[in-house]
């Protein structure tokens, strides 16, 4: 086993996901199997290989620092789970 239940719990906390006891069991087993499969990458010597993040050569796309869109506050707030006039209403963040 590469993965422990505690490790799964730690990763779930990093991802801000609450898991049920049953999910912890299942994910521990499934992710362990998937990670073992991924170990096949260690068959390859990549010490001289530059990592590739993007497949197509791309350079930074710059534009002038100019406002091009006017935010429509009502449209943007229309999907908010809770709102207060022109603000998002959220749980208390600072104790």
């Amino acid at each position: 086993m590469k993965l422990s239940r505690e490790e799964i719990q730690r990763v779930a906390m990093l991802a801000r996901l609450r898991l049920t006891a049953e999910e912890v069991e299942r994910f521990t087993e499934q992710l362990d199997k998937i990670l073992q499969y991924m170990d096949k990458l260690n068959q390859l010597d990549t010490s001289e290989v530059q990592p590739l993040a993007h497949a197509v050569d791309i350079v930074n796309a710059f534009r002038e620092d100019k406002v091009t869109n006017r935010p429509n506050v009502d449209a943007l707030l229309a999907n908010a789970p809770a709102r207060d006039e022109t603000f998002f209403r959220v749980p208390k963040i600072i104790e």
Partner: protein, 485 residues
Amino acid sequence: MNPPALTLHEAADLLRQRELSSKELTAAVFDRIAATDDKVHSYITLCRDSALEQAKAADERLKQDQNSHPLLGIPLAIKDNFLTLGIRTTCASKILGDFIPPYDCTVISKIRTAGAVITGKTNLDEFAMGSSAENSAFFPTRNPWRADRVPGGSSGGSAAAVAADQCIAALGTDTGGSIRQPAGCCGIVGLKPTYGRVSRYGIIAFASSMDQVGPMTKDVRDCALMLEAIAGHDPADSTSVNRPVPPYSEGLTGDIKGLRLGIPKEYFVSGMQPEVEQALRQAVRLLEQNGAVIEEISLPHTEYAIAVYYIVATAEASSNLARYDGMRYGYRARGKDLTETYMLSRQEGFGPEVKRRIMLGTYVLSAGYYDAYYLKAQQVRALIKKDFEEAFQRVDAIITPTAPTTAFKMGEKTQDPLQMYLSDIYTISINLAGLPALSLPCGFDSDALPIGMQIIGKHFAESTILGVAYSYEQSTDWHNRKPQL
């Protein structure tokens, strides 16, 4: 005439000849949906009223301008991960169950300007994560050819809608095969363009270094017409590439004399359904008869592609999906404090496969594992891309099966995620390398299920692969077969 069964170019011709109006066509498509969608379940959301209004407006424009855009008045189905102004966009997730976008994605703006009619939003695996359309939070889509089979995924709803004549053509997205594999399973044409060819602005992000938008159509000519309509540079997507868009449909001559086609020996391995291999070998012979030169090639790092993909894609997904926190939009659960609100909203809002991938992606990026998994995967990704670069020094395009088997049974792979991942074996390397690739039908197996052939091209060589596909299609009639519904 049976209007819903028309191809896009046939319908466009009839609209211009006044043999058919967009309103008649659109109404007939909705009749077809009403008659068949309780069996197939392609659509999450239907837009009948707005579609009929768009059709009416298109008919007005057609009267005034005979040289208008080929998409004018054509009913198109849209995968439900494209942001559509005013039309609910769920990504087949409970977390976006009520989400109504405040803007159109660039591709939708383009087809709206062209005058296309939007029939509705099609089903997918939640957040485009899956190969069967079974991971939808709402319902699974069924394969129009056989109700006990999956339509493939993640663009399963779009593929099924095209195959079942519930639209004239459709749009999908492809991160690891999500256009091509369902196109193969449903016997239609599906193209994943080169990374950067089509704007991703307003497409709900899954794995940003690989996501790409593409057409799903009834034949190759339609595919070329759709690509022309959606391709092009977009300043709102900094990864979109500023290159002219060739007139893809005008380049379809059917002439492939002297074109060099590579067959990668690593793709013919155990686990492939014998009928898939036979169909592909026959298709290759036919392309040879049409003048192509066939050559065996090697893509030596093929066996590592799935491991690389499921590290890179889940890492990017775990980061992209961090935005679903229940604060500004989407589902919010009630927790006792902020952290618990986040954790409960995400627990209740995401389905099992999305959680599994967020967990995997978070793990491979976390302290102590980044070098072993994520960095290693990016290095092997470079080797996979290099394999293709070397192959493309010898050949103009590469021919492979789209998937190792025809459409599998519903429920067959849902309990074993790794088995599900392995069904993407022929499609994912292409996303890792950013290449364009197309799937088109090349036969049927003994269960009367379609078999897909994949044609892979060099970066921005969509014209070449469309040309090969067109040559094959002209010599066969697989694309004219229809499922009985």
